[in-house]
Amino acid sequence: MMIAKEEISIKQQFHHWVLEYTDDMYRWALHKVSHKHTAEDIVQDTFLSAYSAVTSFKENSGPKTWLFSILNRKIIDHYRKAARNIEEREYIGNRNVIENSNELFNEYDGWNESVTVDFWNDEQELLDNHQFLTVLSNCISKLPAQWETSLTAKYLLEKDSKSICKELNITPSNYWQILHRAKLVLKKCLETNWFNH
C-alpha cells in the first residue's frame, strides 16, 4: 500500500516537472540536434530514464540540474549513434545520391549539361515565395541524413566549421566534400523542380 502511494506521488512529481521543464529541455535539445522530432524523442526519453532512475535523484542538486544532466547524456548518445551509422549510410543507403551527384559531370569531370543561365538573381523574391521554399525543403529532405545535417548545421548551430566537424565527427575535408556534393544535388533538384516547372 505504501509503495503504491509513493508511486502515485512520484508520478505527480514528474507531471509537475514535465510541465515545468519540458520547454527548456526541448529548446536545448533542438539547439543541439537541430531536428524537431529527434529533439522531442530525446526529451521524452530523458523523462522516461529519469523516472526509472528516480532513486539517483538527490534533492540538493535540484530537479532541473538532474534532468539536464540526463538530457546531455542522451544528446551525446545520439551523436555517438549517428557517428557509428555514417559510414554504413554513406555506402549503402546513399549510393544513388552519390551517383546522381557524379552524373552532373562527364568522364573528364566537366559539366555534363552546362547550365550557364543564372537563375539566382533575386534572392529576396525566392525567400518570400512559399512555393519555392517548399520545393527547396523537399530537395533538402531527399538528401542523405548526414549530408542534410552537414548542410544545415552551420545555420542551426551557429558555430564555426571546427566545432561543427567535431560535433559531426568528420574531418574538415569531409565537411567541404559533403557540402559540395549536397549543393550539387540541390542545384540539380531545383533546376528540375523549380526553374523548369
Binding site: 508520478k11 514528474f14 507531471h15 514535465v18 510541465l19 519540458t22 520547454d23 526541448y26 529548446r27 533542438l30 537541430s34 524537431k36 522531442e40 526529451v43 521524452q44 523523462f47 522516461l48 523516472y51 526509472s52 559531370f105 573528364y108 569531370d109 566537366g110 559539366w111 552546362s114 547550365v115 550557364t116 543561365v117 543564372d118 539566382w120 534572392e123 525566392l126 525567400l127 521554399l133 527547396l136 525543403s137 548542410l151 544545415t152 545555420y155 542551426l156 566549421s161 574538415p172 575535408s173 565537411y175 567541404w176 566534400q177 557540402l179 559540395h180 549543393k183 550539387l184 540541390l186 542545384k187
Partner: protein
C-alpha cells in the same frame, strides 16, 4: 605537357569543390590561383559559385525562421510524456 596542363587547368568538378573548400578552409596559394584561372574561363562554374553563395544566404534565413517556429512551447510533447509516465 599533359602534367602541366592538369596543374594549370582544373576540371569543373575539382573547381567547384574548391569553391566549397574556400569557405571552410583556406586554399593553398596554388589552389587559389588555379581556381581564379578556372573561374575566369568557365561560365558554368561561375553559375555554381553564385548558386552556392545564394544558397548559403537563403538557407540561413529559411532555417532561422524554421528554428523559431520549431522552438515554440510544445504542449503536445508535454501531454505525450505525461501519458507515457502515467502508463508506466
Amino acid at each position: 605537357m599533359k602534367g602541366i596542363m592538369s596543374v594549370v587547368f582544373l576540371t569543373c568538378k575539382k573547381a567547384t569543390e574548391l569553391v566549397e573548400k574556400r569557405v571552410i578552409n583556406k586554399l593553398s596559394p596554388i589552389q587559389f590561383i588555379q581556381l581564379k584561372l578556372h573561374l575566369a574561363l568557365c561560365d558554368a562554374c561561375i553559375v555554381y559559385e553564385k548558386f552556392s553563395k545564394k544558397m548559403d544566404n537563403i538557407l540561413a534565413v529559411m532555417l532561422k525562421n524554421k528554428r523559431i517556429t520549431d522552438a515554440q512551447p510544445n504542449e503536445e510533447l508535454k501531454q505525450k510524456i505525461k501519458n507515457k509516465i502515467e502508463s508506466l
